[in-house]
């Protein structure tokens, strides 16, 4: 019964879609996040929706159940078949999607990599919309923690997986700042732990950090699952005064810890703005108003002037946003 209803609803939706496509032919965009049920991507979707409301593009989103490497491929093929103009995607693999992207582009579909790029495989997508200037993530996190611990003592990093490309870029930059900037001379990185973006593993890894390094002063966790788990562990162990936790988290996930004082501050960017910007860029390129090449500039309402960088990489914002007790009430994502 339920299934029939769903199918009817879908049939109805499909009929609507076909009707609309014949009438005006607006730019159609589909966004494929890594997986369904991930609140972070819900904010990006909201950005797309609001962008398309303003610009008059048609927006849909579909998502696989798991973030496994191949799970997005059938969705991309189906979207090519549907004749969608732009496929925006947060790829689950830096290279497994190459073939299907080539295929899509040969049929005139624009491929936008949103929220992360495909390192080494940039030729297979048209452009990448990144949340922030990634070179700043590492140093900015080190500074945030340094400020809280008086630039002194043992610190550790809790990352996602050992091979997570973005996190590894940030961690390299963190190490670089710690080594080169004399300001951080007394901060000592003791270890890097990997929680695989799994709540359970992140929890045991953090507990092991506390057990293995009794003098630990701070933990940087540049991943949303990790930072929440680290905060939870520190709170449970009643060590919030001894060990400071910073990292990249979403306000809704971290609000509790900010309000009860476990975490002083954490950082992120605006996933919403990424969606908004991607929608503007997609429509502009499709209409021929924006040239997809380095140096092009365009306006996005609320974001100001945006510049297309080398390799068609677009950064949504320059610096990270810091969330603390003073401003967290203003954010809901």
């Amino acid at each position: 019964m339920l299934r029939r209803n769903l199918m009817l609803a879908a049939a109805f939706g499909a009929a609507l879609f076909a009707g609309a496509a014949q009438a005006a032919d607006p730019v159609s965009i589909v966004y494929i996040p890594k997986n369904t049920g991930n609140p972070y991507f819900d904010s990006i979707i909201k950005g797309f929706e609001d962008g398309c409301k303003k610009l008059g593009c048609e927006f849909t989103t579909v998502a696989p159940a798991s973030a496994e490497a191949t799970s997005q491929i059938p969705f991309v093929t189906a979207q090519i078949q549907r004749g969608v103009n732009v496929v925006a995607i947060s790829p689950n693999s830096p290279d497994a999607l190459n073939q299907v992207f080539d295929r899509a582009r040969s049929k005139g579909t624009i491929i936008l990599s949103v929220n992360s790029d495909m390192p080494g495989n940039e030729t297979h997508r048209d452009a990448a919309i990144l949340p922030v200037d990634f070179t700043k993530t590492g140093p900015s996190q080190v500074e945030l923690l340094g400020k809280q611990i008086g630039y002194e003592g043992e610190i550790a990093i809790l990352s996602a997986t050992t091979d997570a490309p973005d996190q590894n870029v940030w961690i390299a930059a963190m190490k670089d700042s710690l080594e080169k900037d004399p300001k951080y001379a007394k901060m000592k990185l003791v270890t890097i732990a990997y929680g695989d973006d799994d709540p359970q593993k992140s929890t045991t890894e953090t507990e092991a950090l506390l057990a293995n390094y009794p003098n630990l002063k701070g933990i940087i966790s540049p991943t949303t699952v990790g930072v929440a788990a680290a905060a939870q562990v520190v709170e449970t162990a009643k060590k919030a005064d001894q060990v400071k936790v910073v990292g990249l988290g979403t306000p809704n996930q971290m609000r509790r810890f900010i309000e009860n004082g476990t975490v002083e501050a954490f950082q992120l960017w605006s996933p919403y703005n990424q969606g908004l910007l991607a929608a503007h860029f997609a429509v502009g390129v499709k209409d021929g108003k924006i040239k997809n090449e380095a140096g092009t500039t365009f306006e996005v309402e609320g974001l100001g002037t945006v510049t297309v960088g080398e390799n068609s990489v677009i950064k949504t914002q320059a610096d990270l946003t810091t969330f603390d007790k003073a401003n967290i009430g203003e954010f809901n994502f």
């Binding site: 049939a11 499909a14 497994a96 050992t162």
Partner: protein, 339 residues
Amino acid sequence: MNSIDKPTPSTTTPTIVVREAAAPRPRWQVLLIRPETVTLVLLVVATIVASRLSPFFADLGFILESSTYYIEFAIVALVLTLVIISGEIDLSPAAQMALSACLFGTAFKAGLPMPVAIGVSLLAGLVMGAFNGFLVTVLRLPSIIVTIGTLILFRGLAQVLAGDKSIGGFPSWFVGIDYRMVGIVPVPVVVFVAASVLLGLFLGITIYGRQIYQIGTSEIAAIHAGIRVRRIKMGLFIASGLVSSIAGLMVASRLGSVRYDLASGAELTMVLIVMLGGTYIFGGRGSILGTFLAAWLLVIIATGMTVANIAINAQLTVMGLLLIVSIIMTNAIYARSQR
């Protein structure tokens, strides 16, 4: 097979027989009320529904292209059909695909020539299959739980071997098997059809095929009949490992890269295909034709829902329900025919 095209003779010449103690079921019933018939009917219905759901569905080229995402599992399901008919089960092929593919990728990255890397992967399939076979036939452990253990073990080893990395950079002749065509048909689909015909013949007309059915019907009787039960079962598990490694290589070619999570959760898909095809979960009954039809049924359902933008949560629900409903129906049909 002939159940479809043969009309029902009994309706044209009504058999006027005085009721004896237990009247044999009319011939048309024997021929038509079979699980494969149900699969075929479902296939037709699913195709019609999918075409109604989305105007973008009814396009042979698109369906064939989309089928390459599931056909690797369907190829494994063909061998799994034999395993299940023999009264065993193998839940580890998806993990075997991942481990053999990761071994292939690692060997290639270590600088071994491609044929050697491919050889390593195939050998790994043989070894993993033999390992399952050893645990089941020599140590006599139940395959259902053994292969849950090896499913976790093989996938875990793939993770240890490859970490979270994507291993790629294979030579261009190897990459993109799904875009190589024979006419309008992608190569993996050709492989699937050929494998179906070969295994169908193997099961249908060779002595080994009949022995597999006998083992599944009654292992004790099979032993008394002089059938080398353990050798055949060992052979089936090895075949399952080998075909899994071939399927793993096909995925590697399709993606141009491998990762430990390749085909994760696909054991459900494989078992679903075999069950949808009407193979009896307790062994002794089933056919390659059923599995062949069921593979297309799955392709049609999955592709139809995806192109109609039906949310993945509905897809998970439908797949789970289908599995349960299909075993119930198959059981009901066999229960009838046994009367």
